[in-house]
Amino acid sequence: MIPFLLSATALAAGLHAGVPVRGVPGLGEPDFLSPELGWSAPVLSADGQPRGVVRVFVGKAELDAQLWLRDAILGVQVPLVPVLGLGDQALGSSSVVAVRDGNVSFFVVLHEGSAREVGLTLLNAIVDQPAAWPAAPTVQQQGDLWMVEAPGAAHLDAVGGRRPLGEAYGFSRLPEQVIAWDSTGRASVWTP
């Protein structure tokens, strides 16, 4: 396993709320992957064209973020080297950087431009509020349907189940998972 360099950071160590899934300069619309993998967003050039991608994960503990970072760099075919001055841990190359700061980890890969610059933007975008982890969505039976509710969720998704055509929140067959994401990229999961 590639050793990680522990580096000092001006940002506070400890538990963060995450990175806003919308509104970070240079990033496009988020794609919510899974609770284990986090979310991603394209990195856009000045003219709006994609020049790479960021993947962001918020763990409930630092260890979660460390394990995520270990896996995030699996999909890089060139060796990465430690990078100084980015979060608590960082590895990278000119086009790739993988960073952990407290319980937040992210991975940046670009086919154009400096990954380090995007990494710094993401570090600066980390927020600590709201501190409380979002509540899991609820699923309640109403008539023939199982209705999903997740007030305040930035994104809702489900695995499995069946929805009648045109039914936005009602399932005729229970899903295996319902996942609610909050505005800082934290996922809460309902399971039957």
Partner: protein
């Protein structure tokens, strides 16, 4: 409408009306042609005199025509009358009567009966305001008149007016082993999930009624064109006709429910047909009919689309025709991911693109994978990441748990630059959606390369990241037998006898023996297959 209504030569139901009918005409009322008064010729009598023999009186020998008519989905009604003992100057009048004999309208007057002794009349069953005849029993009364305008014969041609049409259509469900419907998924849904799938059980279409409007605005409801969006599902049944997924060698079942309004015509011997299909259950009278294709859907994978033509008929006469647009994706079978739940199903946008884009292949796993690799390598506009060889769409939770962001990939949200993990994900996702099982394998680790042509690069090199970086820390490929056979869309190998040096000959990695693959790929270092039974997951 393509329904052809044939005029009946002679309808046994055609009847001579009661002479006391309110038209007051009888065939032999004494006022007709030939009732004396002219030199009509004659025959000699026994006493040597001459007896005048009256010429035969013309009459309606036969009146025939349409028995059952659907003015909205059928051809116009066509009736004809044949006149016996024709003479010059005959005319006919046509009166429409309702089921109890009351006159509704005079449709035609003084139609001349030509020398062919036959008159044909065509009517679209609409009045002057364009209003179609309502459902019911009617008759067309033919009155033959002499040159003086005096009625000499009269016949009725009864007929029925109906409304026909389908309300719902459902593919599959016969339970037969060769009727394998495949669930399809749309990946840009809204609400509680970003995907919506038909569960291989949803209707293709559901119409509220067979008609819309009233009076002159009455129109037959059409089965909508096939739903166009490949990514967004409909939000309701209005204008919805979902495409279907099927194993290519299936004989699909199509169950139609009818919303017919037939009146007294309901008791007639109705039949329904679709060319190339057979009725396997139900009937027009029952209101539900199941058809089954008589032959396999296709000989190989592809998109089968067009319009079925549902014809309803009575006693061999076509009454109505309705177009049923359809699109069926002919696949190897249901998706072959480890999970059978959404989103691990056949995505409409993916299979539509692959089936239309790939070269036509034999319906074998290996042939489909071969075509898929070439399509990905040559046609998708992808380019290998020569900066770091990093993944833009694949994420791992450990090597054996790769998840591919397929919806992002379809949109190229992160661009068209990819690496080997992405390519193994792309090949794996498409293959498993087409119903061809395909795993990925990881080749570890840190080995130097022979000559390769990376996807989108267009030239061979052994140092894809520049002159000082001539190896992979890992490489991802795909296999369907734990690494014995390899497919790889990331790169083409040097296929000549010396894969380590130029010149190089492009060799697509299509069903290449696993050992040969490593021999051609690896210049030096240790390289072995790991995790070779890992199947990609998607979101």
């Amino acid at each position: 409408m393509t329904l052809l209504l044939l005029a009946l030569a002679c309808d046994p139901a055609t009847s001579k009306p009661d002479p006391s009918d309110d038209t007051g005409t009888t065939p032999t009322d004494g006022g007709g042609v030939g009732d004396g008064g002219g030199d009509d010729g004659g025959t000699e009598t026994l006493d040597g005199g001459t007896e005048t023999v009256p010429p035969p009186v013309p009459s309606l020998a036969a009146v025939g025509g349409s028995l059952v008519l659907d003015p909205l989905r059928g051809l116009p009604g066509v009736w004809s009358a044949e006149v016996a003992d024709w003479s010059e100057g005959l005319t006919v009048d046509l009166v429409l009567r309702d089921g109890v004999g009351d006159s509704l309208v005079v449709l035609a007057e003084d139609l001349p009966v030509g020398a062919e002794a036959r008159v044909e009349y065509e009517w679209d069953l609409r009045d002057g305001d364009g209003v179609a005849l309502p459902v019911g029993s009617y008759s067309l009364e033919w009155t033959l008149s002499d040159p003086a305008g005096e009625p000499i014969d009269l016949l009725d041609a009864p007929f029925q007016v109906v409304r026909t049409g389908v309300l719902t259509g459902v593919w599959g469900g016969s339970g037969s082993v060769d009727d394998v419907r495949v669930p399809l998924l749309w990946h840009r849904a809204s609400g509680a999930s970003s995907t919506w799938d038909d569960g291989a059980e949803e209707s293709a279409f559901q119409l509220d009624a067979i008609l819309t409007g009233e009076g002159a605005d009455e129109l037959p409801t059409q089965v909508p064109a096939v739903w166009e969006s490949l990514r967004t599902p409909p939000t309701g049944w209005t204008d919805t006709n979902l495409p279907q997924g099927y194993a290519y060698d299936s004989r699909p079942t199509l169950r139609l429910s009818l919303g017919n309004s037939l009146g007294e015509a309901a008791s007639l011997p109705w039949e329904a047909r679709i060319d190339g299909w057979e009725v396997v259950a139900g009937s027009v009278a029952e209101g539900t009919i199941s058809f089954r294709k008589t032959e396999a859907l296709a000989e190989r994978l592809g998109v089968v689309e067009g319009e079925l033509s549902l014809v309803l008929s009575v006693e061999g006469e076509d009454v109505s025709t309705q177009a049923l647009p359809y699109r069926v994706y002919a696949l190897m079978g249901p998706a072959t991911f480890s999970s059978s739940s959404a989103p691990h199903l056949a995505w409409v946008e993916a299979i539509d693109g692959a089936l239309r884009g790939m070269a036509e292949a034999e319906a074998t796993d290996e042939a489909v994978l071969d075509a898929l690799i070439e399509w990905i390598f040559l046609d998708l506009g992808l380019r290998y990441d020569t900066r770091s060889g990093a993944s833009y769409y694949m994420s791992y939770s450990g090597w054996s748990s790769g998840r591919f962001s397929f919806s992002s990939f379809l949109d190229r949200t992160n661009g068209s630059t990819i690496n080997c993990s992405d390519c193994s994900g792309i090949a794996g996702v498409y293959a498993n959606m087409l119903g061809v099982p395909l795993d990925y394998a990881i080749i570890l680790s840190n080995f130097q390369l022979n000559e390769i042509e990376a996807i989108g690069v267009g030239s061979f090199t052994s140092c894809p990241f520049g002159p000082t970086s001539c190896g992979f820390s890992y490489h991802a490929v795909t296999t369907n037998d734990d690494g014995e056979s390899i497919w790889d869309a990331t790169l083409a190998l040097d296929g000549d006898k010396d894969p380590g040096s130029e010149p190089s000959t492009r060799l697509f990695v299509q069903d290449i023996d696993g050992e040969e693959y490593l021999d051609r790929l690896v210049r030096s270092g240790s390289a072995s297959y790991y995790y070779a039974d890992s199947r990609v997951r998607i979101r």
